[in-house]
């Protein structure tokens, strides 16, 4: 099937070229970072994780969200999703690849990366994250590829792939739960030390991921002869709005606990992100942008005519995606380090090389996504004709 990715329109090759160019910029910036050390980033002794780990955290959610089309199709026989499960699975593959790249560039000694396997340490959540992420990557590559190959030959997929599909459902939940556990089990980081962290992660993931999937479906329909189907898109939109409301609800729960209890450590993080703390407030505009986008998207998605109209639906999905990208891809991780253990504040601003590497990895992820989607769409077109 790979050969289908090798022939495409001029626009396809331009897209590949642009993404490859951005990938190149990222690689160059990474080589610079490799040479100078992580000093080229905006991270510091106090804010020791930044944009990279935050992007990783957000993208684990995008990867996990494939389950939102796989589960209804395979467990509840929601026929509309039959056409787009492959898009969900290939999105997961691209997202996990980005996750792994973001971890890699965040390491001080990337060449020693395999120490995690050489000295396996079950008490470390990071060890389990490595296990579940790689497992999820392989599950989705195998499932997506086998099912698509069968579809191309117009035969039933082999029976052995069914157990893998069922396994991929709880596995998707596991990747985001384990990622939440990275944060939720650390003593002294009050902003992260919350039992609903994993639930929050899953809720926001099941809103942001499917929102991106809707946008991708709309793009696919525009640029190819493959139509994912209006009903499928509407059904995914229902998932987005439910998950978004649950996600907002969970954040409000956190805010209630912090501010009704009045325990300073629990309040500080929220104060810092929403209004600024002791004169420091770099994240305030971001937080409000995220909050406003979430509320506007909720209202738009709750309004049936706006949800059914695909233009306004696309706008809502963009809002959901960027709102939750800010929440998990920027504020959640950085605020965990503020204030520091000495109750003082060091702020964080990413540097140019850091942003270049981040953009490079996103571009690499979308390059993988473009190629995988090209294959999937070509197969679908081939069957239709």
């Amino acid at each position: 099937m790979l050969e289908t990715a090798l022939k495409g329109s001029k626009k396809y090759w331009i897209l590949i070229g642009v993404l490859f160019g951005l990938h190149g910029i990222g690689v160059t910036a990474f080589l610079y970072q490799l040479n100078k050390g992580l000093t080229v980033t905006g991270m510091s002794r106090d804010v020791s994780w930044g944009l990279y780990i935050a992007q990783f955290t957000f993208l684990v959610g995008v990867a996990a969200s494939a389950v939102m089309v796989v589960l209804p199709y395979y467990l509840h026989n929601v026929k509309e999703f039959g056409k787009i499960t492959i898009l969900g699975e290939f999105l997961a593959v691209a997202a996990v690849n980005m996750c792994l790249m973001f971890i890699l560039v965040d390491l001080g000694k990337p060449m020693r990366m395999l120490n995690v396997i050489l000295h396996p340490t079950p008490n470390s959540i990071l060890f389990w994250d490595m296990v579940v992420l790689n497992g999820y990557l392989f599950l989705n590559i195998i499932i997506g590829w086998v099912v698509l190959s069968a579809e191309r030959k117009q035969v039933e997929p082999p029976k052995w792939v069914k157990p893998l599909i069922y396994l991929s459902i709880p596995w998707a939940v596991s990747i985001h739960t384990v990622t939440a556990f990275l944060y939720a089990g650390l003593p002294g980081r009050h902003f992260w030390l919350t039992a609903i962290m994993a639930a929050r992660f899953l809720a926001s993931a099941f809103a942001a991921g499917p929102a991106l999937l809707i946008l991708l479906c709309l793009i696919v329909r525009r640029v190819s002869k493959f139509d994912p189907g209006k009903e499928a898109i509407q059904k995914v939109a229902n998932i987005v709005i439910y998950a978004l409301i649950i996600s907002i609800f969970f954040v409000l729960l956190e805010i209630f606990t912090a501010f009704y209890s009045q325990i300073p450590g629990h309040m500080h993080g929220f104060v810092y992100t929403f209004v600024g703390l002791n004169g420091y407030g770099n994240l305030v505009p971001w937080t409000w942008a995220s909050a406003v986008m979430a509320v506007v998207a909720t209202l738009m998605l709750l309004c049936p005519p706006l949800r059914k109209n695909e233009t306004t639906l696309a706008i809502s999905c963009l809002l959901v995606f960027f709102s939750l990208w800010i929440e998990k891809g920027i504020t959640l991780v950085i605020t965990g380090f503020i204030p520091n253990p000495f109750d003082t504040i060091t702020e964080y601003v990413p540097t140019l090389p850091e942003v270049a590497i981040t953009v490079g990895i996103w571009a690499t992820g979308f390059l993988i996504l473009t190629i995988l989607y090209k294959i999937a769409v070509s197969v679908k077109e081939e069957i239709a004709s």
Partner: protein, 262 residues
Amino acid sequence: MERSRRSFLKILGISTLGLGTLSAVDLLAKAEMGKAEYSPNPKGMTGKRWALVVDVKKLDEETTQKAIEACHLIHNVPDYGDEEEIKWIWTDKYEHVFPGQEHAYLAEEIEEKPFLLLCNHCSNPPCVRVCPTQATWQRGDGIVMMDQHRCIGCRYCMAACPFGARSFNWKDPRTTYFKDKEPPNPKYPTRTKGVVEKCNLCAERLAVGEMPACVEAVKDSKAIVFGDLEDPHSEARELLHERFAIRRRPELGTSPNVYYIV
């Protein structure tokens, strides 16, 4: 030749089993190691739970600086003076050392006192719990150690430590700080970029029967007392018996082993 090829293939076979490899390689490595004879220095100090008792009253700006300088010279700790600072032992004010326990009417003497800060060598260390490679681990005597040759620089331990005791080498000290000057102590290795470091309670000095450098540096004032808390007759234990001492953030359950007499 044939034999070694066979054993090579054997190892390769085991390797494909994934996790199985590790124990196999470990065994082979141990068998190799067994041939060389090593024995601990008979002068070395042994204990079950090393601890430091800091008598804040006996510390002033001058004495704390002495302790800090001794440590940083012995361990080749660079002094960058910015947000990428490497800290093994340093000072801060009461309100930053014991956040949440300060109040507006704090005794003046305490408010401005320099408190010595260093790794607490917790009995239940979260940094050890989270490290994915066991590059940081706890010895039988309680010291939380750091293997800079195994550390992958993920900085999970820095997020986990509630005491801010860990520093990361954002840049290469060998090509920046020690570029034009020799590291003060040629016997102790400088670090490379990309690894985490922290106070090791002078494990290398204890091994040859010497006191931790900070303790040694202020020994005239007896401001820092080092001892084994499992030994009822140790100086540290007796001091804690006589005087009231507090620890940083005990509510987090890490059980710090640095005590402050205030």
